[in-house]
Symmetry: D2
Subunit: 305 residues, 4 copies
């Protein structure tokens, strides 16, 4: 398994009664499957996985796999706080059709999460998982940092095939590429921050899992392709156009912002689940302006359906 290109970490539609909405999920995926996205992440951070029950999680995975064709990669977020719960969730995701598991670091007991702890956790999960495992570091939500010394040890595991690094720190991406390449030439480093997608590709990322790719998949795919083709100046211009929206959907407005942006782009995924609040009017206006600034690009989801 080699992971490359642009994947979208899709949100989980929530209806007005605060329940998951599988009908809207299927409809959204029908739109996204018309794009050139290489694949999807179901139940990532943007999928509000932390706010779903285990039963809901299974339903979402099953419904998504019905729509995501087999020639697109479907990753499933299966990280939990305990090692055993992570193993259970990973096995269930595999049985429901996930191609690989994206396992975020546990992070509740921050002061105790050492490299040794991370290495044992991921090895236990990878040993038990019937599908390939990707490491997933997202310090802004977990409060812990999976460092390159841990990744160096884990990249040698035959069932660990890559990593998503969401921090937007291009130097860290470069370091991970260097470290992992030494340990395992099949190890893919995927950027998780749309604001630094192009420079992450420059330093060796093999692709990206980008919230903004849900809204502007074609722009993201073109940045990827242009960089691959050595058309750096064009890629850089597109990146500069993409960055403001990526920032709004990331650290600024998060999942509520992503759901609002999709509404604007013609994909209805409802509201975030409580305690998340819907994006404010000011947020919607700011996001709308950036979507409009991307011209036809950002509405490529809508324009194609």
């Amino acid at each position: 398994m080699t992971l490359a290109g642009v994947l979208a970490p899709i949100p989980t539609p929530i209806d007005a009664r605060d329940d998951i909405d599988l009908r809207r999920l299927r409809a959204a995926l029908e739109k996204w499957r018309t794009t050139r996205l290489a694949g999807f992440v179901v139940l990532g951070s943007n999928g509000e996985a932390a706010l779903l029950s285990e039963e809901e999680s299974d339903e979402v995975i099953g419904a998504a796999r019905e729509i995501v064709p087999r020639d697109r990669v479907m990753l499933v977020g299966s990280g939990r706080e305990s090692t055993q719960a992570t193993i259970h969730a990973t096995r269930r995701a595999a049985s429901l059709g996930a191609d690989a598991a994206l396992v975020r670091t546990p992070g509740f007991f921050k002061s105790q999460m050492t490299t040794e702890g991370f290495v044992r956790h991921y090895r236990a999960v990878a040993d038990a998982s019937p599908i390939p495992v990707l490491l997933y570091n997202f310090t802004a939500v977990t409060g812990v940092n999976l460092l390159s010394d841990a990744v160096l040890q884990l990249a040698a595991h035959p069932n660990i095939v890559g990593m998503k690094e969401s921090g937007g720190d291009v130097g860290k991406i470069a370091e991970l590429v260097a470290v992992a390449t030494g340990a395992n030439h099949r190890f893919s480093v995927l950027a998780g921050s749309g604001g630094t997608f192009y420079p992450s590709l420059c330093v060796g990322a093999s692709g990206g899992i980008l919230a903004v790719a849900c809204v502007a998949p074609d722009v993201c795919v073109r940045i990827f392709e242009m960089t691959r083709q050595g058309r750096h100046s064009e890629a850089r211009v597109l990146q500069e156009q993409l960055a403001p929206l990526a920032k709004l959907l990331g650290s600024v407005y998060g999942v509520p912002g992503l759901k609002a942006a999709l509404q604007i782009a013609g994909i209805d995924v409802g509201q975030p689940r409580a305690p998340l609040l819907p994006a404010s009017e000011a947020a919607v206006a700011a996001i709308g302006a950036e979507v409009a600034a991307l011209h036809g690009d950002a509405v490529d989801c809508r324009s194609r359906t």
Copy 2:
């Protein structure tokens, strides 16, 4: 309901197969009930609640209530990331005998957790809960901070009776006391950090929920009583003796340290659940030295049984 005195946030025993161990839980509670602790917190952060399934959580609550006598307060940690899961957990805790719910802040989507979000979350939980609710702020594990402007709004709710502040910031404790007293004279502020228990009492905390109270309950109770009686110099001396152990069981070695300290003090609660690792030899030695330095005080659990 007025909460005062010293409560112990008990760990959840885990056996060698990484399963919860209700037999050890009952045995430990039998020892703790011989002390002068005012009550217990089941499934707090120290109870590794984040590492347990919903089913395990229910079993632990039920088993604890069998042993904790009705004249001692039994709080149950029922915070989850989503509002609805928190409500479900709180209702189940109530039906299993909890006297009140200790609801930690949700914290996964850190950048989106505003005062407005916290206020809506806690109001929804308090409205739905059949038992009184305590707010619970523990920034070192959640990465978010429940500020006094939110507490000011929430303290006025008839079903919100207090707050545990674990940060060890005595100025914040004082501010919460001032703020909450204005809103609701029945609102109790409980200190969550053993290293600053005595000065927290000085500024108006009505008690403490202290990990170190699992190991040295009598020292903690004496600090509380002496401060109440105006015997400040004696309280300060005891606090100075307690502080090093409190620090080791808090930010330094966390739950693994607490479990190691209890083993030394004659209460067997097994090991932490993975991905937590057992305390290292160096940690056990450091903790053992501090337990010994407390002389007979720290072994009061053992000496009474």
Copy 3:
């Protein structure tokens, strides 16, 4: 030399041409000397020492010593980034009449400031200083933290007589008291944060160097005395009244806030030096409200003159 009681870290008056204003400095000190403050700090952080030239610093020290009577302690801030500049400034301060030097940690090269570096720096300064030296830790401005392992080593030096800890962390104050008492029973720990003055005294601080004491000296002195006399409840009430103003003059509005508060209290020390901006109208209003809330207490500077 034993340091105890309340000292005021006085601001340096700046005139409309951005020059130091010794006339206003003398006038202000004439007012402060009528209070029961135990002493003064000239050229501390609140004295905008970082914004003055070496020549201006000397003029300020000389002018202050003319007014500060010999029966009040006059500390002078003489910390610089290099060890040799700190030694020069300390010697000049001594020759201009300082009773002791308050030496803030160097902090420019943050990642390189280890305990070993701090210990060597302070020993070199203390060896070369003709007057006693106090350590001074203020992490919020320096970005570095002088930890108790360094203080343990330094407290044994015969010419190091105490420490100002400005962090407001009462647990750290308690730890310093414990550590330093073991090394040197003459070592004084002074609190630098008015918001936690009373609990700092509870855990063993021998006094405070408090910005808010420039504005409300009598309240601060009464908190000190009441705590000494075991009148804890009264001290706590006063502390609760003092805390909001202390917060505004500390982390919220800083030196511009202090200068605005003094203007309100009838002591004209001009504006802050650029790049500091004068307090905004909103800041002045908030500060004015808190000064008024302290009733006659906060205006004790004015009422006595």
Copy 4:
């Protein structure tokens, strides 16, 4: 004035008596001038400017200008904490031959340093300066962050020609390029972190001011040239080779590490000034290994003389 290419922020030699050593400075510059470096920064952070007196600063500038030929850019660090001291230092630097001033943000009063404060400070300096001014943001040492909204306002000033951003955050570099280009097409953004030099160039930086360029100037210049020529794969490989040494000379070992690396590379600049300690043996070994790993590249200073 357009700034492009690689500049070296040279250290200030200090002799065994802790004095500045102009002889060693001249000798080092004689070596560096044989390289293809576009220019030099005298008295930057790496020049220990914070540890020098005003008189020493002037001597260093004068001595450097004697050796730095007129066809190489010589920037001088002239940032101070007060606006007026910064103006004085900038004027003196100009009179001593500086081509432009590199003015780091003031940062002592961190909580008060707003965008408005920064804008007023830099405008006053740029208005008064006879030479062009570059903004300089280095959060790791100053503890404050010059954000793009301030840069947007400042880039429009006719005497502000660029900015050095030392944070290594490539997304910030990209944002600055976008912001500044809109305001002023002559505005140069220079990267300050060797670990992300190549990706910074990808997103539009016009060059770099890199500590590691003192040790490995030719590698840095080749990365710059290759990127300009569209030889991205080669540039990336060189960057990957450079990164470990850049990291050691940056956040890990700082100025002491840089001075040790230069000793290894055959340029004697003495030791750091106290309170900085010389690099430890372990640091020297780690740095030596990385210098050796760069093969002939890192010793290009030595090999050319």
